[in-house]
């Protein structure tokens, strides 16, 4: 991603003006900082990556994007509380957070394997009992099971629509294959996703 255009001043020499712009939630300053971070942190995360298990649900791209977005959220929380003297300090904070979020990401991948790939809670009962806090895993697993149960009740066409959409296929192509127009395909997908999200929301 290209870094966004000039701010009309040098944020290196006029850092106070820059940080004031960030504090004032001015979009050009935030756009600049976002592009600045993205151009540096994403390649760095890619370099650090390489340990995703082969059976991970996430692709490397998903994993990196999630780590970056969570880093940015945490950065914003800490930015609101902190004092910064130059751009280097902001960048340093973002990299430290990114490193932590990367570790958290690996931990989540491991949790996901337990949440998504253990068919029976009883099978894992002994293993879970040795963990200090299996409640969260059990809770998450129940949500996934509710989603799977709902998915299994969907008509074949609707299920196929969702699967292909999740696969990244264009709705236009899916609509053609299912013999429906794009608008109704979009509507069906919207309703089905809404229902699934409601299940998560209700369980969460």
């Amino acid at each position: 991603m290209k870094e966004s255009g000039s701010l009309g001043y040098s944020n290196e020499t006029e850092f106070e003006q820059f940080i004031e712009g960030l504090r004032q939630q001015r979009r050009p300053e935030w756009n600049w900082l976002y592009d600045h971070f993205r151009a540096r942190v994403i390649p760095w995360l890619h370099k650090k990556d390489g340990r995703l298990p082969s059976d991970s649900i996430l692709t490397v791209e998903d994993f990196i994007e999630e780590a970056f977005s969570k880093s940015l959220i945490r950065f914003y929380e800490m930015f609101k509380e902190g004092e910064f003297k130059d751009l280097g300090q902001l960048r340093g904070l973002m990299f430290r957070i990114a490193e932590l979020k990367l570790k958290e990401g690996y931990y989540k991948v491991k949790m996901d394997r337990r949440i998504f790939f253990k068919e029976s809670l009883q099978e894992e009962g002994d293993k879970l009992s040795t963990e200090t806090s299996p409640d969260k895993i059990i809770e998450q697993r129940e949500i996934v099971q509710s989603l799977e149960k709902h998915l299994s009740t969907l008509p074949t066409g609707e299920k196929e629509l969702l699967m292909r959409f999740a696969d990244g296929e264009r709705l236009k192509d899916i609509a053609t294959d299912l013999g429906i127009d794009e608008t109704s395909c979009r509507m069906r997908k919207y309703r089905a996703m809404k229902k699934l999200k409601a299940i998560v929301k209700k369980s969460g």
């Binding site: 290209k2 570790k103 958290e104 337990r114 963990e131 696969d167 990244g168 699934l196 998560v200």
Partner: protein
């Protein structure tokens, strides 16, 4: 980017599918950064998407391995054929040949039915010479020497020599580390010598793990292998134990102590993450 735009343009789902333009991605990311309710919505959608990805992948895996039953049936048939061919080997073939004695004139070594009958008769006679009341005496002898009885266990006689297992040697001391867990082993010291006392060895695996998280969710096991490469290839360990952790001052301690009956030889121990198959510690020890 406002809420209306996000909803109308399916931005959350497209974000998770990496379908946003650069500008949309930046706007959405900055919006999400400031809005906890939007963060929560993205997380909900992420769970849904992951479930769909998982279902899709399971379906694909099923499709991918649809031919497996055919291969299985074919293998059974092949095994059956092989078994039948073996059954036709010279040793057993003799039974058929017995029915045609004329064809066996040049095969004096093959037992005839008469010889077999004689053998059977001899067997019966031998059994009669050793009446059942000999048996208690035999049992008493075995009870007096219990170690002999234990040696019969196939598990314990595997490590017969000190030749290295090249498959495991390369892992020793490489300090297999993940981003999540770092193992520090205090016992055993790798390449240490252990002496047997009454055929047994005190085996202890102790140490600590550093984890960035407040708990260890991974499932670790300690495995003890002989030096036989075939065993490691089949992951047929002599012993395996679940690793349990006790938290003390932010570190996770573990300790396994066992008194094992081991033959002299070279052994390898390893700590493995059972979910990922990742080896975290590999070491060896000599039992003398």
């Amino acid at each position: 980017m406002n809420r209306k735009y996000i909803e109308e343009n399916d931005v959350i789902d497209r974000y998770l599918l990496h379908q946003l333009s650069e500008e949309e991605l930046r706007d959405f990311s900055l919006e999400m950064m400031q809005d906890p309710s939007l963060q929560a919505e993205v997380e909900e959608a992420r769970v849904v998407m992951k479930t769909l990805w998982k279902t899709r992948r399971t379906k694909r895996a099923k499709k991918k391995f649809r031919w497996l039953p055919i291969v299985f049936i074919f293998s059974i048939l092949l095994l059956g054929l092989l078994g039948y061919t073996l059954f036709q080997s010279p040793k057993n073939f003799s039974i058929d040949q017995i029915s045609n004695p004329e064809e066996n004139m040049d095969s004096p070594e093959l037992p005839t039915s008469e010889k077999r009958e004689t053998k059977l008769q001899e067997q019966i006679e031998t059994e009669n010479e050793n009446p059942p009341n000999d048996l208690p005496a035999k049992n008493t002898l075995e009870q007096q020497n219990p170690s002999k009885e234990k040696k019969a266990s196939p598990k314990k006689a595997i490590a017969a020599d000190f030749s290295p297992n090249t498959l495991l040697e390369s892992w020793i001391g490489t300090g297999v580390r993940s981003n999540e867990y770092s193992f520090f082993l205090s016992k055993p010291v790798s390449d240490s010598k252990m002496n047997r006392v009454a055929g047994k060895v005190d085996f202890q695996v102790a140490g600590e793990v550093e984890s960035p998280e407040s708990e260890i969710v991974a499932y670790f096991q300690v495995h003890l292998f002989s030096n036989q490469e075939e065993d490691y290839k089949k992951f047929k360990s002599l012993y395996s134990w679940d690793l349990e952790f006790e938290e003390k001052e932010g570190k996770f301690h573990f300790n396994i102590e066992e008194n094992l009956e081991l033959e002299p030889g070279l052994y390898y121990y390893l700590i493995r993450d059972e979910d990922t198959g990742m080896k975290h510690v590999v070491g060896k020890m000599r039992v003398e």
